[in-house]
Each structure stands twice: as structure tokens, then as C-alpha cells.
């Protein structure tokens, strides 16, 4: 994929994320009123959601004595692998957990979905719409109605059911919960929360050496060439689009960097702030005001600066512009002022859903050491938030989410796995401890939770999935083309199926695990009759499971799940027809995700994004630990949701398909 392809793609999917609103509960079932009388106010449930914690690594570290709190909990309570969602992608898995339904019920099947009419992708979790009515006056556009952002996840969140039964809730950084579901408790949105540009995080690197990045696939960031003149650099920070102006130009803020003639230090002057930074140092949060209409309308954002290098080349990193929790431009918490109150207590914090800047690290805009500093800041902020949440927790539910293990298992796997194509022994020796250190940090987190336990408290530690190496990229669309299921109009890679001849195409892949049949009456140019779909799916599934990597002879695809069998119900227009479960070491290529057709079928993964979990569910189970004994030997994510309700004496609604996991 070219640089432009990915940028355009990000732009396209990013547009859909800004703004907020909450879909009303769709499938609310009657909840037994007896629960209210059962709940005396003394019952407490603490859930630690540790995204991406892998049972194999955890068990190994427990055996080595490096996770004493986990070991204690496992010995006194229970420890099990936890079956993930199909597919085991984070937004899907957390939506399973939130609603107690599978993707057929909550409607989140992948990071991205497609419009069947035109095959174009969009972000699966939220959708933004601008003002429907506007009035144009010269260059100015005056909105006559409000914009709207909608959470696309269907079904009621389990904490909403708890609140209906008078149980206080604290749900901090829950993924797939932007904008936050309507709640009378405290909640803070997590993964899925955009930055101020509407993307999942767009960094900027100002450099006097842009050539260094010319051959890199810069996704989710901008490389801005600058010149140093008399030890001074002037440039602009690009903020959100100005919807009050025709053509929606970007709102930009000027800034100046003064570099010392000799010392490795610089001063950044932006708006009315002056910041001194050493080379190799991140700034505190810098608050920015983006003025849309002078004296009338502005929006707040915040970013961190990093002086990567002053001389001989100047390299200056600006983090994605986060929603400022002190003055949120979009709803990120319930109640609305909770985000600000929290920031006043612990300081400002990353609000974007994916705080680790994996994109900057991928293209070396942040080198290994730089990225590790950034991810340490994220963890430090999250731990401060956690300490306060635990300290303030008195009653009801506390859910707290940690993202650091997930993001760093993606980005640092190559440092712990000598078999990975980009493994470097020297670098690995220096940094291989980092991922394990984050596991150890989670042990400290658990230690604090254990101190909070009493006889009325149930503690659940869970992850949505585990992890696997990502050695080789499988171009699923290329395979479909090579096997005659797709016909192209030319030999180019294309993007967003730009060169697909839909009149001669029977199946296509989108997202990291989705396979769709080009079905007549559903797809805009569908050709496969619905009655032929099952047979076609069986044929493709059989062939895919037979694919072997020519360079290793290994099986590439562990299992193909037909969604009509894997899900209890399914919206045929929305859900893929099959989910591709890759085997350990393999995953769909990035190009597959956006409808491209590279020449080669399987290629090495040469990127720092070196670990993954978007494979077969059986390959990457998550973890479940509790101070209660398990009665179910093979618990799944879906089982946890009704189990939590039952802990409070609430009968789960019928649309929750899981089985209780705890002994009564």
C-alpha cells in the first residue's frame, strides 16, 4: 500500500469517529425486581480488564515467581484461560463482554465494516454526522441544528442494568464505549475515543530531514519538513477542521522553537506558553485553544511535545491532539464533568482511545527508546487514575481497564521472539524486559485490588484475548483473486476494491477477519444467489483451511467460522458471512483490511507491529482469575456478563447467551 493509500484510508475512517451520542438500549429484557431487595449496598465487584494479557506468558511469569499477586489469587481462588470472541479483536471482544451477546447481537464484528451498497469501509463502533441544516453567509457556515455522534454498538451495557437496580457503578476506560453509554454512574470512555482530528491518533513529526521517512508507509501521522533559520523553527500545529467555514479548512496554531546554539535544549513558544525541553524529553500536557470563530467559538485540545533531536538534524514530535479532559470538546465521561474532576485530582491524561503512539513508533518517528518513554507516561497516568479509583471505590461495581499490555504486545513482540523476522539480538537484549515489566506492573495493580477485598467483594481479573506472534502476512484478497473468486479489471493492487469487476466477483475480504459473499440483493453489485451462498462458503472455507505457507509448510488458516453457525443471530446486511481464524504466526495483511490485491500471497511481516491476536479464537484465549471458584471449566467472555449480574442477585436478561461461571 502506498503512503497515500493509508493516509486516505485513515482520513476516510477517521471522519466517522468524532462526535457523540448514545444509542438507546435496544433489547432490554425485564429484570427481576427481586434484585433490588437482594442488593443491600454492601456487595462489591471489582473487575480489572487487562487488554491482551496472555495466559501462556502469565503462567510462565507466575511459575518464575514474578507475579506473586496473580499466583496468590490463582491459588486462593481460580485461574483459567478465557474463551474470546469470534473474531478475537478488541472492539468485538469488549462488546461481547459489555452486552453479554455475540457480534450478531451487538453488531460489532470487526474494527471496520462496509456499506453493502458501495463496498466502502467505515469504523464499526461510532458514527458522526455534522449539522443537517446550515446557513452560509459569505465564507462562514452557520449551523442551524446540532451534529450528532452515535455509538453503533447495540444492546444494553451490563452496568446500565446494574444501575436500574440501584447499584452504583464506576466504569473507567471501557473500550468500545465512545461516546459513553448513558449512565447514572461514573464512566470514562476508552478505546475508540478519537483525537481532535477525528482519527484514532494522528502524530506530527517536524524534521529537517524528511528524506529519512520518504520510503516509509506513514500511517496515522504527518511528516512535516521544516528549516532551521538562526536557530529558530517556525511551524504550525494543525487542529480540527473549522466547520464554521466554507470547505472546512483546518484550524492551525503557530508555534516557534528556539534551539540553543550549543546545548541540547530548545524552547517552544505556543500561544501564551513557553516550554523548555531537553533533547529526549517529553513535555507535560500543553493546552491549546483552536479558534473557529474569533471571540465566539473555540475548542480545547492538548498535546505533548517531544524534542527528539536538535542537531545536526532537528526532529520535533507533537503527539496526537487529545480531547482536553478539563474542557472536553466531545462527551468522554458520565457525568459530563467527571473527566474534568478526575483531571483536577490526578493531572491531565491521555483521552484518546489508543494512547500509545504505535504509529509513530512503526515509522521510527519515535525510536525504540522514545516510544518506551511515551508508553511509560501512558502507564503512569493510568496507574494514577487506578489508584484514585480504588481509593474512592466504596460500593457496587468498579471496572478498570488497562491498555498497555495489548499495545505493547503488538509493538514489542519482536524483542522477545527470536523467530520474528525483525528480531535484533542487541536491541532485544536491551529492551526485552520491557514487556515483562508491564506484566509485573499489572501484578502491583492486582496487589492493590487484593488489599481492597473483603468477604462481600468479588474480584475478577480478565483479558479479552491473549497474544500470538505475527510473522507472516496473508493477502486474503489476493488468494480470492488467485482462486477465481475475484476478478480484477487490471493488474494493480488497487485500494477499496477500485479495480474489482463486481459482475465477476463472488467473494471479497474486508477488515482483519471478515469474508463477505458478493450476494445478490444485498451487495450493490451482488451476483451470488442467496441459495448458493452456503455451498460457496463451504468451498472457500475448505480451500482456505488447506492453504500451506510455501516457505514453511505450515497451516496458515486454523479455522473458518461461518457466522450463521458461530453467532446466535446475525444481521445479514452487517455481519461478514465468515470469519477467518488465522493460525499462530499468521494474520491478514494490512492491505487485505482495506480491499487491496498485492502480488504476493504471503509475505514476511517486517513491521514493529509484530504481535497480534486477530487470529483464530482458539489460538489466543484470554485469562480469567477470581477470588471465587469457577464451576465452568471452559469459561468464555460471554459468560462473564451474566455472572457479574448474578453476583448482585440480578437475573440476566434472555438475550445474554452466556452461562454463569462462578460457584454459588
Amino acid at each position: 500500500m502506498t503512503d497515500m493509500d493509508r493516509r486516505e484510508f485513515l482520513k476516510l475512517i477517521g471522519v466517522g469517529t468524532v462526535g457523540a451520542a448514545v444509542a438507546p438500549a435496544a433489547v432490554a429484557e425485564a429484570v427481576g425486581k427481586s434484585a433490588k431487595s437482594f442488593f443491600t449496598g454492601s456487595k462489591k465487584v471489582i473487575i480489572l480488564g487487562i487488554d491482551g494479557m496472555d495466559p501462556v506468558i502469565l503462567r510462565k511469569m507466575m511459575d518464575e515467581g514474578r507475579m506473586p499477586s496473580f499466583l496468590k489469587l490463582a491459588q486462593d481462588g481460580s485461574f483459567s484461560a478465557l474463551g474470546s470472541s469470534v473474531p478475537p479483536q478488541s472492539p468485538v471482544a469488549w462488546s461481547d463482554f459489555i452486552t453479554g451477546m455475540d457480534p450478531g447481537g451487538h453488531g460489532i464484528c470487526d474494527f471496520i465494516h462496509r456499506e453493502p451498497e458501495n463496498y466502502l469501509p467505515f469504523l464499526s463502533t461510532s458514527k458522526a454526522e455534522g449539522a443537517k441544516r446550515t446557513w452560509t453567509l459569505g465564507d462562514w457556515v452557520i449551523p442551524l441544528s446540532g451534529g450528532e455522534t452515535t455509538l453503533l454498538r447495540k444492546g444494553r451495557a451490563f452496568w446500565q442494568i446494574l444501575e436500574e437496580n440501584g447499584i452504583p457503578t464506576n466504569v473507567i476506560k471501557m473500550p468500545a464505549n465512545f461516546p459513553p453509554a448513558e449512565s447514572s454512574g461514573r464512566s470514562l470512555s476508552g478505546m475508540g475515543t478519537p483525537d481532535m482530528l477525528g482519527s484514532y491518533g494522528t502524530f506530527t513529526l517536524y524534521t529537517t530531514n524528511p528524506a529519512k521517512y520518504e520510503d516509509k508507509d506513514v500511517t496515522g501521522g504527518r511528516i512535516v519538513p521544516v528549516d532551521v533559520y538562526r536557530d529558530t523553527v517556525t511551524a504550525q500545529i494543525e487542529g480540527p477542521k473549522n466547520s464554521f467555514k466554507k470547505d472546512e479548512p483546518t484550524i492551525a496554531i503557530d508555534f516557534t522553537v528556539h534551539i540553543d546554539p550549543e546545548n541540547p535544549v530548545a524552547k517552544i513558544a505556543v500561544q501564551d506558553q513557553e516550554i523548555l525541553l531537553n533533547v529526549g524529553e517529553f513535555s507535560e500536557w500543553i493546552h491549546l485553544k483552536f479558534v473557529a470563530v474569533p471571540y465566539l467559538q473555540s475548542v480545547s485540545g492538548m498535546c505533548r511535545f517531544y524534542l527528539k533531536q536538535a542537531r545536526p538534524n532537528f526532529e520535533f514530535y507533537v503527539s496526537p491532539i487529545n480531547i482536553d479532559p478539563l474542557d472536553p470538546a466531545l462527551p468522554i465521561s458520565t457525568p459530563d464533568d467527571y473527566a474534568a474532576k478526575l483531571a483536577r485530582k490526578i493531572g491531565c491524561y491521555y483521552t484518546q482511545g489508543f494512547p500509545e503512539d504505535t504509529k509513530a513508533f512503526s515509522v521510527d518517528a519515535l525510536a525504540v527508546g522514545d516510544y518506551l518513554k511515551q508508553t511509560a507516561i501512558v502507564l503512569r497516568e493510568r496507574l494514577a487514575m487506578y489508584d484514585l479509583a480504588v481509593e474512592e471505590f466504596k460500593d457496587g461495581l468498579l471496572f478498570f481497564y488497562f491498555c498497555s499490555l495489548d499495545q505493547n504486545s503488538h509493538m514489542l513482540w519482536w524483542l522477545i521472539d527470536p523467530k520474528h523476522p525483525i528480531y535484533e539480538k542487541e536491541v532485544a537484549q536491551k529492551y526485552e524486559h520491557v514487556l515483562y515489566d508491564i506484566y509485573a506492573a499489572m501484578d502491583k495493580v492486582l496487589e492493590k485490588a487484593l488489599r481492597k477485598l473483603d468477604e462481600n467483594t468479588t474480584l475478577i481479573v480478565m483479558s479479552d484475548h491473549g497474544f500470538a506472534p505475527f510473522y507472516r502476512c496473508f493477502n486474503l484478497n489476493t488468494w480470492l483473486k488467485d482462486n477465481g473468486y475475484v476478478t480484477l479489471t487490471n493488474d494493480e493492487e488497487g485500494e477499496f476494491y477500485s479495480n474489482v469487476n463486481w459482475a465477476k466477483t463472488r467473494a471479497y475480504a474486508l477488515g482483519l477477519n471478515g469474508l463477505y459473499i458478493n450476494q445478490r440483493g444485498r451487495e450493490g453489485s451482488g451476483i451470488v444467489h442467496p441459495s448458493e451462498k452456503d455451498a460457496l462458503l463451504d468451498e472457500i472455507a475448505r480451500k482456505l483451511e488447506e492453504v500451506r505457507d510455501p516457505s514453511t509448510g505450515e497451516q496458515v488458516i486454523f479455522r473458518v467460522y461461518k457466522t450463521k453457525d458461530a453467532y446466535h443471530t446475525a444481521d445479514e446486511r452487517l455481519t461478514p458471512d465468515a470469519i477467518i481464524g488465522y493460525d499462530r504466526g499468521y494474520r491478514a495483511s494490512w492491505q487485505t483490511a482495506i480491499g487491496s490485491f498485492p502480488k504476493e500471497l504471503i509475505v514476511n511481516n517486517d513491521e514493529r507491529w509484530s504481535g497480534d491476536h486477530c487470529v483464530a479464537t482458539e489460538v489466543v484465549p484470554g485469562i480469567l482469575l477470581s477470588n471465587k471458584k469457577l464451576k465452568n471449566p471452559n469459561p468464555r467472555l460471554l459468560d462473564l456478563t451474566p455472572s457479574i449480574l448474578l453476583e448482585f442477585g440480578i437475573q440476566p436478561p434472555e438475550n445474554m447467551k452466556g452461562q454463569p461461571v462462578f460457584e454459588t
Binding site: 528556539h258 540553543d260 550549543e262 546545548n263 524552547k267 513557553e274 516550554i275 523548555l276 525541553l277 531537553n278
Partner: protein, 277 residues
């Protein structure tokens, strides 16, 4: 007034204010400000009483009331109404004339109080763990100027010196380690200039800028020793955090709070002191 004398007088006033406000220094800033504002309101009302022509003010206000009554009674007579409005305007000017002298007299204590409040409530001292940029401005080119900066225990230099030759400025960032009064020492060609740096969680005097002897500097930074006249160093300034004043969940500037509360206190207590305002 001689600069030195003014410095001493300011120092004395600052110490007195410090002593008066010391019971509030460990509390939320709202309490000290509230106390000062209420007392100020009362003092100003009393000053007004003894420096104004109370009888004339009373008579003027009665006249204005009479003219308003005239408007209400003769609202169908345009001529009389316009006449009453003209007289109200003229009497108002007379009323303002009676207020000018006491206002000017009151201005002196008000300015003194504002300055004292300003050095306590505009900014706050650094707290342990916080950082601040320090800007040194020079009166001569800095390219060849041998400048060193040292920090006493309790603070540390977090960056090397950053030179801005075009602005004749050298910047450095300091970090606060522990509470107390610490010192930043600027060494210029052997000359050592020591500037105090307060690190505290309490409400205390802070001076964001230190300059050579100058009227404005002495007036607005009472109690602060000016920089030596013979030094190439023209000023030392600190970018300090603003002091937050939270009133019922709203962030309010201390000056707004002071004026609203002192005016409200003065008006509500004028009856007690039998003052015509």
C-alpha cells in the same frame, strides 16, 4: 519618595499583610480573600463616611428620588417629564462630584491592598515536583557573557542554559524538590546574584519578576529586593502557575471575587455604620 524608603515602607506593609493573612495561608485561597474583601468593604464605607459631605449626598439623593416621583406623577405631561429627566441628570452629576474626593482618597488603600493581594493570589509558589521556566534578561549582548546558573538545595536545574542572543536572554528550567525558600544564583563574570525561589503548598508571596530599581517594580513587587544596579542582568522572571480560585465549581479571577465581595460587604453594612453612599 526615595526608592530605598519606598522599598522599606513596602517591606513593612508586606510583613503586616503577611501577619494578618497568616491564619489563612494553609487554607483554600477563598477564605483569605473573603476576609480581606469583607474588611476592605467595611473600611471603604467608613472612609467614605468621614471623607464625604454626607449631608449633601443625602440631600442630592432625596432630590433624585423627588424627580423620579415627578416622572411617575406626570407621565402624561411630556414637558414635565423631560424637565424631571434633565434635573435627574444634573443632580446625578452633582452626586458624582460629591463622590470624587472620597473615591480618590479610597484609591490609595485600595491600590495598596490590591498589590498585596496580587503577590499572593495572582500566582502561586512552585510545589515539590513542579517545574518553571526562568528567564534572565540582559542589558548587553550575551554571546561573550560568561553566565552560570546554580541552584541551592531544594531546587534543581532541569535543563542546560538556553541562549537567545537576539533577545539578550538566557532561559533555564528549574524543578522544585522540597518545600522552603531556596535560591537561584546567577553568576556573571564572577558576580553572584541570588534570587529567592519559594517552594510551598501554602499561600505565600511570590514574585514572578525581579528587576533593577524602577518605580513600577518597587510598587508592584513590594518586599522584593531589586537587582543590583551595576549588573548586566536586567531582570529575572519565573513562569509560575496561576493560582486557581474555585467558587462553587466556577473558576473565578481573584480580582473579580475581591471587587464583588468588597462592594457587596460595603453596601450591606452601610446601614450599620450609618453611611450615605
Amino acid at each position: 519618595m526615595d526608592n530605598q524608603l519606598m522599598y522599606v515602607a513596602n517591606l513593612v506593609i508586606t510583613r503586616i499583610f503577611g501577619a494578618l493573612l497568616s491564619p489563612f495561608s494553609g487554607l483554600s485561597p477563598i477564605w483569605g480573600l473573603l476576609a480581606v474583601s469583607v474588611v476592605t468593604g467595611i473600611v471603604l464605607v467608613v472612609i467614605f463616611k468621614y471623607t464625604s459631605n454626607q449631608a449633601a449626598i443625602r440631600k442630592t439623593k432625596e432630590k433624585i428620588s423627588a424627580y423620579f416621583l415627578q416622572i411617575r406623577l406626570f407621565k402624561d405631561d411630556l414637558g414635565l417629564m423631560l424637565d424631571a429627566q434633565k434635573r435627574i441628570l444634573r443632580t446625578n452629576l452633582t452626586y458624582m462630584k460629591y463622590s470624587v474626593v472620597p473615591m480618590l482618597i479610597m484609591l490609595v488603600p485600595v491600590v495598596l491592598i490590591l498589590i498585596q493581594l496580587g503577590i499572593r493570589y495572582e500566582n502561586r509558589p512552585l510545589r515539590p515536583g513542579e517545574s518553571a521556566v526562568v528567564k534572565l534578561k540582559f542589558g548587553e549582548p550575551i554571546e561573550a557573557l560568561p553566565v552560570l546558573v546554580e541552584a541551592s538545595d531544594g531546587i534543581k536545574l532541569e535543563t542546560p542554559l538556553l541562549r537567545l542572543p537576539e533577545d539578550r536572554e538566557i532561559d533555564v528550567r528549574i524543578g522544585a524538590l522540597s518545600e522552603g525558600e531556596h535560591h537561584l544564583v546567577v553568576v556573571i563574570d564572577g558576580q553572584r546574584i541570588t534570587t529567592p525561589v519559594r517552594v510551598s503548598n501554602r499561600i505565600e508571596c511570590v514574585y514572578p519578576e525581579r528587576e533593577k530599581y524602577a518605580f513600577a517594580g518597587i510598587l508592584f513587587a513590594p518586599g522584593q529586593k531589586p537587582l543590583p544596579q551595576d549588573s548586566p542582568l536586567e531582570s529575572v522572571s519565573f513562569i509560575l502557575p496561576r493560582r486557581e480560585l474555585n467558587v462553587f465549581g466556577l473558576s473565578v479571577h481573584w480580582l473579580v471575587f475581591f471587587f464583588v465581595v468588597s462592594v457587596a460587604a460595603g453596601y450591606s453594612l452601610k446601614g450599620v455604620f450609618k453611611v450615605q453612599v
